[in-house]
Amino acid sequence: MAIFPPAKAVWWNEPVEKSEILWVVIALLWSLFMFFMMPYWHITGKQNLSNEAYRISADAFAEKTEAMADKYTVGEVGDTGVPIVAPPVGTDVYLYGRRWEWWPALKFKKGETYRLHLSSLDWLHGFSLQPVNINLQVQPGYEMVVNITPTTSGEFSILCNEYCGIGHHTMVGKIYVTDK
């Protein structure tokens, strides 16, 4: 019994029951399969993070973002004062989170790939693109680069899904995707 010392002093060479051995083998194979699924998806899958990242200060990132917005602003989200920016395909796109907004709103073309740089100017935030359901962690002091390819068009929202203080539930941004 498991609450008493093993019945046989030499328990390590007792025979192992058949169904137990079989299960260990099955479980091991499944474990290995799941492990190799990850590198496999890096090779064949279309949803992988680039791991490209840099250290950056909040000021420097804000500056780059504003420079991009100055060049490519095409409108405003309602009367929120947040610009809608339509960067040309092939340029670097910047988006920052800070308490409690995503800035700026972006306009993409479906099927094109954009080099999206993400960072936070203050605390941690969570980039949660809905209803697509892509979720990324946005860290202050780090600039993360993701190459993102919209495959559906319409209006999308960026919710914040990392708790970031009392205004967390008001932090929504926008990405618009137009058909080509």
Binding site: M1, E20, A27, S31, N133, N147, T152
Partner: protein, 570 residues
């Protein structure tokens, strides 16, 4: 020093050091009180996330959520685990406890620490969640309390190790330590690692909150914090699996199918469970995919392998024991004829199944590097861990309490009828809470969010009606589970205070958990043999395991399919 006084447990025949008796009682009762406090906060949170009810204002919601996380995840579980460590060492080994004074320091520091952190949270400027990610800052007392609590727990670990040493030296048992004690040792070793990691990150953070240090890198904080936060979940796993084995032994006299396999599985935990902090960093910048894949999978999923092994061997041991008693018809007579009205069994068996099906499968899914993209920080995550630490660990500890409390105090349960229902109310209620949060998370609903209708946001976003429906139902089932939790707490506190004294001969046979074995002499052990000896095959368990595997595979692939439908990322 060897002047310890003992009493003999009339139910089990174990020799119980009177000092350890008292320590176990205080740790267990304190744990249960904090479960109550944390549970109340949890209900407040769940009632706020029920869109139609939306109980608390925003600041109180975030405060309650912080308190909930701290009080249940840390305080309730770790106090109970201290009781378990003392039980598995001193009592199971018929030994005196090493350094009872240090054990009281453990108790005192943990209690003071827990109180300090709770006060800091209630004062309102420490609503940082139990993860307290920098640069969000809490009051210094918040971190200080947690540090005291952790150092207290570390002392408990040392007392446990000391007791193992004394028992060996004083030859209070023969041969190897029991499997359950081995499981507790696993938990203890992981706990020591965990607390070390905690010290490395929380002490600088405390200094930072007092302005002695001016910068802590938020990514490095997260990496080290999760070496604490994730590994400590494996302490819970090792502890509740030990409890499963213990209950199988106590109720059924079940022997492990194979000591070798079960112990190796625990050993895999020691080797690999320290990994997996990357579960929480899979979509963070600045870490390589190689690191993420290796770490998130516990090397080659070797710790998952270990859990799958326990998932077979625990019910397998029960099946073998039941078949030996003659419940041999068909695949499942052994299970049908199990004592489903005994909360010790029903709680344990629900815990075993729901931990595997809800907590386990979802954990592996979301711990997969790329799949994490579709659930990170959504309410899927709390859905997952209410499937692990609540219907897994908490329910297992509840089941064990139904045996431990009447046995240690030698009192009968105050409400034996209610006790029959309690594991189902709490377990199934929580199981639904877990499933519904996972469902809403799949639709993208964020965790730790006061208002999913975004009515205060400058830009609107509307979740599909199904998401609102699931969060509403989540509230309903949280109430069901809440009733279950209240019954448990009243039952335990009531039993301790007003329970009828047991007649020494241990009259109550079933609900009060009949004695497992008479006083055991070394010779008695020679009679018992391997669980798997003779004809012992466990076909029923094997079929259950295959059902589990197929569910696991289907769910795993469905999520890859889902991932493949989202925008391209490279």
């Amino acid at each position: 020093m060897t002047t310890a006084l003992f009493r003999t447990c009339p139910d089990t025949g174990f020799k119980i050091d009177l000092k350890v008796d008292k320590l176990i009682k205080w740790n267990a009762v304190t744990a249960i009180v904090f479960l109550m406090v944390g549970g109340v906060f949890g209900l407040g949170v769940a009632m706020t996330r029920w869109p139609a009810v939306h109980l608390l204002p925003a600041d109180w919601f975030y405060l309650a959520l912080t308190a909930h996380g701290v009080d249940v995840l840390l305080v309730w579980l770790i106090f109970f685990e201290m009781a378990l460590l003392y039980f598995c060492s001193a009592i199971l080994l018929n030994s005196r406890l090493a350094a009872p004074k240090v054990a009281w320091v453990q108790y005192g520091m943990m209690l003071v620490g827990a109180l300090i952190t709770n006060v800091a949270i209630l004062q309102g400027d420490s609503s940082v969640m139990f993860t307290s990610y920098v640069p969000m800052k809490a009051a210094p007392a918040f971190y200080l309390g947690i540090i005291l609590f952790a150092v207290g727990a570390l002392m408990g670990c040392f007392v446990f190790l000391g007791t193992l040493y004394i028992a060996k030296k004083e030859k209070t048992y023969e041969g190897s330590i029991p499997l359950v004690t081995f499981g507790a040792l696993t938990a203890c070793i992981i706990a020591i690692f965990t607390i070390g990691a905690g010290a490395v990150i929380l002490i600088p953070t405390l200094l930072w909150s007092m302005d002695f240090i001016n910068y802590i890198d938020p990514l490095i904080y997260k990496v080290i914090w999760w070496a604490l936060g994730h590994a400590s979940q494996q302490v819970n796993v090792a502890a509740h699996i030990s409890v499963w084995y213990a209950i199988a032994a106590i109720l059924f006299g079940a022997k492990p199918l194979s000591e070798k396999v079960s112990r190796t599985a625990f050993f895999l935990y020691i080797l690999f469970l320290q990994l997996a902090s990357a579960h929480h960093l899979l979509v963070d910048p600045g870490l390589s995919s190689e690191y993420k894949i290796f770490n998130t999978s516990y090397a080659l999923y070797l710790a998952v392998l270990a859990s799958m092994i326990h998932g077979l061997t625990v019910p397998g041991a029960i099946e073998a024991a039941q078949r030996k008693k003659g419940y041999n018809k068909g695949l499942f007579e052994w299970l049908r004829k199990a004592p489903w009205g005994n909360p010790v069994f029903s709680g344990m068996f629900l815990s075993l199944n729901m931990f595997g099906f809800l907590g386990g499968i979802s954990g592996v899914m979301m711990g997969t590097e790329q799949l994490n993209i579709i659930i990170h920080n959504t309410i899927y995550v709390p859905g997952h861990f209410h499937g692990t630490v609540v219907v897994g660990t908490t329910l297992a500890f509840m089941a064990f309490s139904y045996w431990l409390v009447p046995t240690l105090w030698q009192r009968e349960l105050v409400f034996p009828k209610l006790a029959k229902w309690q594991p189902y109310l709490f377990g199934l209620g929580m199981g639904m809470v877990s499933v519904l949060m996972m469902g809403a998370g799949t639709l993208g609903v964020p965790r730790r969010l006061w208002d999913m209708s975004y009515s205060d946001a400058a830009m609107p976003y509307e979740f599909p009606a199904a998401a609102f429906l699931m969060m509403g139902l989540n509230g309903v089932f949280a109430l069901v589970a809440g009733v279950g939790a209240i019954i448990f707490i009243v039952q335990m506190v009531g039993t301790v205070m007003w329970g009828k004294k047991k007649v020494p001969a241990a009259a109550a046979p079933e609900t009060a958990a009949a004695p497992a074995a008479p006083a055991r002499t070394p010779e008695a052990s020679a009679v018992s043999s391997y669980g798997s000896a003779g004809t012992m095959e466990v076909p029923g368990t094997f079929v259950l395991a295959l059902i589990f595997l197929v569910t696991f595979m289907l769910y795993y692939f469905v999520n890859w399919k889902y991932l493949s439908s989202v925008w391209g990322l490279s």
